[in-house]
């Protein structure tokens, strides 16, 4: 449970507190004073520490493990191996599909990637566990590994028919087009690299399991634990009050989670297991490496006639991940002919996973570079060609956009950036020994939707509590839900306490796909509305209420006080009314599910993603949009690229809190700068091992890499996307940054780099 003291966050102005106001983070004071306890920082009596041992081969068999030295080391309580760990039942996947195997082995005998967990040591202290883990001796029978997409053994992969999108006759139209470009675009393996490592504390009390674990999806992970250990869902409690960044990586219970929970069960002691930083590069998947070819055929006036797109992403030998590479390709521009197909290729890696805007991010790198290449081929301004081919409706779904403020984004961004002053020719702008390049690219992300629920309580003193098992990993959930409840109920925001991150609260689906804000503001709005109705109903009808004799039809609540709309008669605080009618609380649970929903469907809604609502449901196609304008400076001699200016105009619909939304947008832009210039998982081709699995060698952007960034909101409320009019925020802004930078580098240097990251050796 988490309570936030609002005294530092509250603002004098009611405007700031309302939905759409720039209220500072209500969880801020806890985070800036060190008081915020993250999941695995809980202190438990008798806590033990587990450390994992990872495979040093990428493919083969474990033939023997000698744990004797580790077992007799000081403080060691147990060494778990594939031979000694308790048997777990297989768990269904995140869509709810049943497991492919009846049992699940989080410590493996068959190794399919380097770093895969083969043993774990549990000891009284962390230091003892680390030291003893180094004593575990493992023998392998190694077989050749497929190290990456370009491995000769990798092959062409498996066609994913569900990814095929076609209309018209794309290949014929491309062949006949007077102007044609065709190029291949590659993105490397990238990592989420949240600052808080993955880890957990697991504690058993009889057949009840409590897990303190950073989580983007408490109910989904609780379901997995329940299935692994064959216990009822209700017996699992997940606690995750703060999450130190997720970016898609913290939505699933993983092998290390199972090891910790099994160790706690076997020892009957609470176990803490935190992945060390290198293990955070091998224990769960980052963004899959991708390859795309984009062919565009156009008329001489720039009008696109055909787009032919082929994509490939890597997946694991024993797990499937599809990074949808045609997602932006198929909707960004109007074209009468289109074809997109995708394969996946199995390599010896941990199964790749979701990283900020999976699919849309690499997809945009392909199409937004390709359109820039077409503009250059035609001698058109890169902004102009995007307007010439502006899609007035969804070309794939063939539906109207719910809202698409992309034209407005181009206009506002170009104006603020000064795009009109751009000199068109590459290598034509310079400042001393630096080439200057200006690039533009668009981005988009679908409005993913789902049903949600929330509990709202009005307490005896008039204060309000909102409860949900959804989470705040920095997006601002605590804050926007406080604003939503405050506005709906008519109370000051400092009277609202939001409690999140405990699976015993009202259920919640996954926090992913930029959907939480839309889902949860809708649920809280509904629950708070019901609570308000009940409060006013009591005030009007309870014989003990001073309003009862007023014979009014309704009452209003403003700034925590109840009165008649015209101000006549009594004027009570909510607490005074609760006291008068003898109630110690009002509690409502609001949900956005249809009334006919069965308990089984409710469970499925919150513990799987199978009931997500398509973004093209009904008459509309729903997306967020953005346009990025980037300036780079490239050193003429050394080829070093620095981003010196970014202006982005974004359409996320209505913003529930612009201060926090701008921060998320900037965060996406910065992660995109890292993707464009720095980030690349490097695999040793001899051993199939990630060799730069740490923060010195896998380079994230630092403060010194980031210039001033201007964001401009061009969104308008979108009633088709969410109850309160917002669209997605968190994933949008990273989409399009890498191509905007690549396009700017081309403008600066005349060199087109189609392989990310754009490092200096590719330019000199």
């Amino acid at each position: 449970m988490t309570v936030h003291d609002m005294k530092h966050a509250a603002s004098d102005s009611a405007r700031l507190e309302a939905v759409g106001g720039r209220l500072s983070r209500v969880d801020g004071p806890a985070k800036i004073t060190g008081a915020a306890k993250y999941a695995f920082e809980q202190q438990l009596e008798g806590l033990t520490h587990a450390v994992l041992v990872g495979a040093t081969i990428a493919a083969g068999k474990v033939t023997a493990i000698d744990a004797r030295a580790a077992e007799t080391a000081p403080g060691v309580l147990a060494v778990l191996t594939p031979y000694t760990i308790m048997e777990l039942r297989g768990a269904s996947d995140w869509l709810g599909n049943p497991p492919s195997q009846p049992t699940y082995a989080p410590l493996v005998r068959e190794v399919t990637f380097s770093g895969q967990h083969v043993a774990a040591v549990v000891a009284e202290t962390f230091e003892q566990a680390v030291a003893a883990a180094a004593l575990v001796k493992v023998w392998y029978d190694e077989t050749p590994a497929i190290v990456d997409l370009s491995d000769g053994k990798a092959g062409d992969g498996i066609p994913i028919d569900a990814m095929t999108k076609e209309w018209g006759d794309a290949e014929a139209a491309f062949a006949e087009a007077p102007v044609r470009i065709c190029a291949a675009y590659n993105t490397p393996r990238e990592f989420q690299a949240a600052m808080e490592p993955h880890g957990l504390i697991a504690r058993w009390e009889g057949d009840e399991l409590t897990i303190w674990e950073p989580s983007q999806w408490l109910d989904g992970m609780a379901r997995t634990y329940a299935e692994w250990f064959s216990i009822p869902f209700e017996n699992v409690r997940l606690v995750s009050p703060y999450i130190g960044g997720g970016f898609g990586s913290k939505a699933l219970a993983l092998a290390h989670s199972a090891v910790a929970a099994a160790a706690a069960k076997m020892l009957d002691r609470p176990v803490k297991l935190v992945l060390n930083r290198p293990q955070n590069f091998t224990s769960y998947g980052g963004r899959a490496a991708t390859r795309q070819t984009v062919a565009i055929g156009a008329e001489r006036d720039g009008k696109i006639q055909s787009i032919v797109h082929r994509g490939v992403n890597e997946t694991a030998v024993d797990g499937m991940w599809v990074e949808p590479l045609g997602s932006v390709t198929s909707i960004m521009y109007a074209t009468p002919n289109f074809s997109s197909k995708q394969n996946v290729v199995r390599v010896n890696t941990v199964v790749p996973g979701a990283k900020r805007a999976p699919g849309e991010n690499p997809s945009a790198f392909g199409i937004e570079c390709a359109i820039d290449e077409l503009a250059h081929e035609l001698g058109l301004d890169p902004l102009e060609i995007r307007l010439i081919n502006y899609a007035e409706r969804d070309p794939h779904a063939r539906k109207a956009w719910s809202t698409r403020q992309l034209r407005e984004a181009f206009a506002a961004g170009a104006e603020a950036f000064g795009w009109a002053k751009r000199s068109p020719a590459p290598r034509s702008m310079r400042d001393g020994h630096q080439f200057i390049g200006w690039g533009v690219a668009a981005g988009t992300y679908p409005v993913r939707r789902a049903h949600g629920e929330a509990v709202v309580k009005i307490l005896a003193d008039g204060s309000v509590v909102v409860e949900s098992s959804s989470i705040d990993m920095g997006q601002g959930t605590y804050t926007i839900l406080a604003q939503t409840a405050a506005e709906t109920l008519g109370v000051p925001v400092e009277n609202v306490t939001v409690k999140l991150g405990d699976s015993h609260f009202a259920r919640a689906g996954v926090t992913g796909g930029s959907r939480l804000a839309g889902v949860m503001t809708g649920a809280v709005h509904k629950a708070a509305g019901q609570a308000l109705d009940e409060l006013i109903g009591l005030a009007l009808s309870d014989p003990r209420s001073p309003f009862q004799k007023l014979q009014a039809n309704t009452l209003v609540v403003r700034d925590g006080r109840i009165a008649s709309p015209r101000g006549e008669g009594p004027d009570l605080s909510i607490g005074e009314l609760m006291s008068a009618v003898g109630r110690d609380h009002i509690e409502t649970k609001g949900d956005t599910l249809p009334a006919s929903t069965t308990p089984e469907e409710r469970y499925k809604n919150y513990t799987t993603v199978a009931m997500s609502i398509p973004h093209t449901e009904g008459d509309y196609s729903r997306y967020s949009w953005c346009a990025h304008f980037v300036e780079v400076r490239v050193d003429e001699d050394f080829g070093t690229v620095r981003v010196s200016r970014v202006v982005s105009a974004l359409d996320s619909g209505r913003l529930y809190n612009p201060k926090l939304a701008e921060s998320q947008w900037k965060g996406g832009i910065i992660m995109g700068i890292g993707q464009a210039l720095l980030e690349e998982g490097i695999v040793d081709r001899r051993h199939g091992r990630i060799v730069n699995g740490n923060f010195a060698d896998y380079m994230l952007p630092t403060n010194a890499d980031i210039p001033d960034i201007q964001t401009i909101s061009v969104g308008i409320p979108d009633p088709h996307s969410s109850a309160l009019g917002g669209k997605g925020v968190g994933e949008l802004a990273i989409v399009g940054i890498a191509p905007a930078i690549a396009n700017a580098v081309f403008h600066a240097t005349g060199k087109r780099v189609r392989d990310l990251p754009i490092t200096l050796e590719k330019l000199i």
Partner: protein, 185 residues
């Protein structure tokens, strides 16, 4: 330290997480230490191999100081030792006996009044998930004290040792700039 880092591959060709495995485990002696943290003295009986970071987090339950990488690459564990910024993950607890250690929990006044840097971080939304934030704030306080907050460029450079994956950098620069001005005036 009794552990030894392997430089050459072991004879059997099997690396074991970088630590020597000579079959016998060292039996570490226990040290009795007194650490002065945020003005309070704490007695600790710990092995010599315990880092300051793990002493703070696991023994003293001062979890405001964060573990991001445990190898000196991210800055999340930044604390002050005698007023200078130090990475707690690369500092043994035994090294700092008799020194004055300040963590994020000791930065605000005893009456709860926030340090100017903390208040500026809140005002400028200089964090999202909050995990790197204590380290950022401790670094920023020292950065200003060192006289390295004279310009945005200087702030960016001297705050570059503290990674933030949420990407709050522009807001961190704004917060440090404002706090530096307030602390100078």
């Amino acid at each position: 330290m009794t552990s030894q880092i392997i430089i050459d591959p072991p004879e059997d060709g099997h690396f074991r997480n970088g630590l020597a495995a000579n079959g016998s485990t060292p039996s570490p002696t226990t040290l009795s230490l007194h650490l002065t943290i945020n003005g309070q003295t704490h007695a600790l009986d710990i092995e010599p191999r315990v880092t300051l970071l793990d002493a703070l987090r696991e023994r003293l339950h001062l979890t405001g100081t964060k573990k991001g990488c445990d190898q000196g690459q991210c800055g999340a564990c930044t604390v002050h030792v005698d007023g200078e910024r130090v990475l707690a993950c690369l500092t043994m607890a035994a090294q700092v006996e008799g020194r004055s250690i300040t963590t994020i929990e000791g930065l605000a006044d005893e009456d709860g009044t926030l340090h100017a840097v903390q208040a500026a971080f809140l005002e400028h939304d200089a964090f999202q998930c909050g995990y790197c934030t204590p380290g950022q704030i401790m670094s920023a306080v020292a950065c200003i004290r060192e006289g390295h907050a004279g310009s945005d460029e200087e702030i960016r450079e001297y705050m570059a040792g503290n990674l933030c994956r949420c990407g709050a950098y522009p807001n961190i620069v704004a917060a440090v700039r404002q706090a530096a001005q307030e602390l100078r005036s």
